[in-house]
Amino acid sequence: MHCCYYHTANLLLTWRHKGIIMSEGAEKMDEDPQYGGCEGPDATYVKLRSSDNHEFIVKREHALTSGTIRNMLSGPGQFKENETNEVTFKEIPSHVLQMVCMYFTYKVRYTNSSTEIPDFQIDPKVALELLMAANFLYC
């Protein structure tokens, strides 16, 4: 599991030009071949779009780590996000949203687990932007 996470991170760098990130679930294909899409109310994945128009497709469960995204996706009203499973962040650039997505994985992975927790490394250069994003996303 642990390795998977970092593997994801590596993939992330290489696939970034495509603007698509398959989060951890994508790696599980061999054991769980059906991994659903981003459509419909019970979709496994949601799409996060950064300000520079990169799309990050992450597991819905992971994205719900963020209180803001949770509210957007599960709010009582009829929101566009609610139907399309796609959230656009006009103020979060892709290099920050990427870190956010990595944090989602980290958080889900090590919550309620009994394995040793590594430190989540944050580059000081993006720390301020990431803090603003995290503050907005409430995670």
């Binding site: 944090y103 958080k107 919550t111 040793e116 580059d123 720390a127 301020l128 990431l130 803090l131 995670c139």
Partner: protein
Amino acid sequence: MHFHLEKDCRAESDCPILSLSWMGRVPNELIEQEGSWRLNRSSYYQEGWLATGNARAIAGVTFTSSHSRKHTDLPVRTNYNLRGHRSQIVLVRWNEPYQKLATCDSSGIIFVWIKYEGRWSIELINDRSTPVTHFSWSHDGRMALICYQDGFVLVGSVAGQRYWSSNLRLSSNIVCGTWTPDDQQVFFGSLTGQLVVMDVHGAMVSNVTLLEGVPVLEMSWNCEKFKMEERDDTTAGSGKRRQLVLAVSFENGLIHLMNSYDDVLPVVVRTGLLGIKMEWCNSGELLAVAGQRLDGDSTPGVFTNLVHFYTSQGERRYISRLPCRTCGVTALTWGHNGRRLFIATGAMVHVAWIGRRVAPLQLLCRLSIKDALATEEATALLPLPRRVKLQLAGLFSPTLRSHIPDTGCLRQFIAQPPDGSTRLHCTMIRNEDDFVTSSAMYTLYLEHFGGLIPLLKGKRTSKIRPEFIIFDPSVSGDAEPRPILTVAPQREATAAPPSDSSDTEEERCHTPRTARRRWRRRAERETAGEDEPAAEPPELRYQPGSATLAQVTSNIWGTKFRVLGVAPNVAPDLGQISYKTSLLHLQPRQMTLVMTELSRRRCAAGSSAGLPGTRRGSRDDDRDERFRHRPSQASVGGSEAGARPCRTGVSLSLSRPAAAESPPPPPPSRDRGRAPVIAADTDDEAAAAPELDHLRESLLRMKHEMDAKMRPEPPPDPVSSKVRVLNGLNALASPRRAARSQSVNRADRARCHVVSHGRTGDAAAGGDLAGRRTSSAPAGEPALGGAVPPTSRPEPTPAAGGGSQMEAIKFIDDDGEDERPVAPRIPPNRSQSLNFISGHGVTLDMVAETASAPRSRVVLIPRPSRRLKRVKSHSLGAAPSGRLGDWLTDSGAVRQKKQPPPTGTPAGAGRAAVLHAEAAVRAKLRVPEELRGCHSSPVTPVARRKERKATGTPPISRRLLSSPLLCRRRMPSSTESSEDESAEVTRSQPFTSLESLQRSQVRNKLRRGIRDSSQAPEGAAAPSPPTQRRQPPCRQLIMHNIAPLWNESSQVYQLDFGGRVTQESAKNFQIQYCGDQVMQFGRIDGNAYTLDFQYPFSAVQAFAVALANVTQRFK
């Protein structure tokens, strides 16, 4: 989980810390219900006390706080260095339910400390003269388990009763012990890996070998450290939410996690650490284990300290490395209910912030940003929303909250008085005598965390005179760790300030040879210091001797001192100290301090209306030797008072504005901004036995003079001081009604003055406890100030001018009577102990009642749904130590006597009524004899009696007055009669001269004012003399020492130093200011003294006063 270490850590002591323990803080205002404190669980663990035991035999108790708010209300004192042990303290253990602290030293002495009235004192002493290997409180706090090295184990009550003891004659020694979570059994671990189980009555239950031949280090159950919720023991025992686990650590780095002592399949954790210290967090989820890494790749002397966290299933959750590499882990404890972890490595304690969950991304980002920032101030510059900035700044808030200088700000720290009511507790140590000049070096250390932080260094410069220089700490950066060992002597030698012409001797001593010698000596001491723990405080972190900060100069007799600032941005005149000599040294020394106020912050805060707030007092004796001269008006008072050789001080306050005097201000509290009230004269000790003759003489002389002054009929001597005073007063007081009513207020509130007419000062002092309680002296004094006319006065003048006018007013009142205002003054400021008793009678009473009863427990408020059985604390039998007990009963007596609560003194009440009330209170309140002695006059009772005889003049009535019973009747009648009488005089008397006419007019106005003020609200009187508003650039504050009280039984003078002074010495003193004790100095060792001070003293001033005092030759 999340873990990060606090970076800018103040948790450093000056010697290895051997033990740690943390306890939640019980708020002061908590009301005790039915024998126990009820605590709110959510807030309880936010603040607490961290106890440290160190190699220098000092136990530190330091305040910790886990919330990030900047300005929370800190306790009055945030650090205690508890002295008492003689060898290094190996164990400190809090008893949280009973709020006690047990400390064990290496020689086997166990102290149990208890906090009482803001001080920690030893409640129990246990000395079996065998080293203690372990000490453990039971989970309900009622019992203690002590393991000795020789196999002797003991279970006793929290109050010191022995329940049982046993000598376990095992093959090996017992090294640790623990209570089972239900407190029904005790487990012992031995050096050979055995686990011994005994029940609560001392019967052996079992003996299991866990690991053959591997010494057990520690044992710990993962239950709550203390049961802070009161509940049925049965539900607590059976209704387990989770399986409790016993962790047993072994010397080889293994930890066994067992469900019970006979668990055949324990979970074995291989930590790979040596010298393991471990503790479960309070919730039992995490076991923190710290130690040195086992693998031997590290060179000797270099340690790789790691901290591991394990779950109760034995899974490792987190590993972190500690930055300290010079020494191993010596102690570890959790705090703040699992939010903090304290790990001691040598003198350093690492404070770790622990989060039980995966840290939020925001926190991680904040930490990352914080690491990139140098200071907290830099957060303000970041382009972040305000809330986020605040959260970020919160990460900078230290867990250890205490007032210590920041790195690089030492200079500012010592040159300014501490903020607010912050009190600095310092120790002054005479380091060494200079080899050549035998001039002594003194160092002032701030007590912190069981250790000492050097602040200032002073050096005696003259053999003949007690003169000193204080070195400037700012010159060479104090960030440098300990540079003195290598370079200090040379630099000292070369950089002696050429400006100091006076200390030639000092320069002479700085020959390179001396320096080398000193350096060698120092180095030797440094190496030797390793063996003997209590050897030497740490060296200064800065370079002393590179520049002089201040000088203490003296006259040849050592009775007058001046403190001069030498460094460029220090006030040139820091203050003066003068001592009054007494024959044969039988009287306690009396000192007068004139201190320059170095900070304006306080006065801006204290005087709300932008008040001038100049506080002045005067001591009128020995005025010929005063350093400063006074304007003409002052000279009147001066000459007048100077003519009275009996030591009668004049107390007054100047320029107290109207706003402040409208209602009687509340009694002084520490937090209140200080009202500009005069410092009291505490020196009316009229006599001591050896001075009897002198006194008699002086009294007679005074009587004559008073007679001459008082006589109104003959045309007065044109130069009579009184007339001059009256003229001045008339001119000043006549135009404004407001001023009149003020002076009347003065008459109303300053009852002390009125009451004391016709009494000798000491008689007044004898019977006047009630007066001092009800009148709450500072409350009276603002009114006094109001009466003072607005004269424009140059700033550094003392208050004698006002003093003379006050005197004049008094004389007007007295005019018709033949009683002379001999020492017509009751010192408005009381000695601290009296305030203590009278002000807090109720609390004392409460304590007194419970003095012999079992001490209450602290309990958390349980969940509301559950109905709880009250568990009485039953195991306590022992009363507190004798001294405490006496004290309590005394105070209890006071409280009972004043059962009818003192009627408050309403603002507009007529004088008679007030007097009556006061007298009534006084009659009710009969003070025990020894308490009565603790007035400001340091007069032995014997002397007082004699003196009363010696005056000759006191009629019977005066002597009766000193009886508290009779003064009730006496008081109102005397004052009323004086009014009537004088009124009659003014009406009937033809005026023989202009002066007498003026005088009578003044008198009439005053009287009218009295009547007015009894009807009109006092706030109406608001004179705002514009000239008074001008504020002098630097205030000079006059303070005096608190006179000790004479203890008849032990035949010594006594002062309450709050447990900070352990040796009696003539050099011990306390200074009071505005009724508060603001500085105290006392001996604790042959060449060590404690020095505590607060506003208005800055560290450099306080140090100067202490230096002047310590070599002061004449008492």
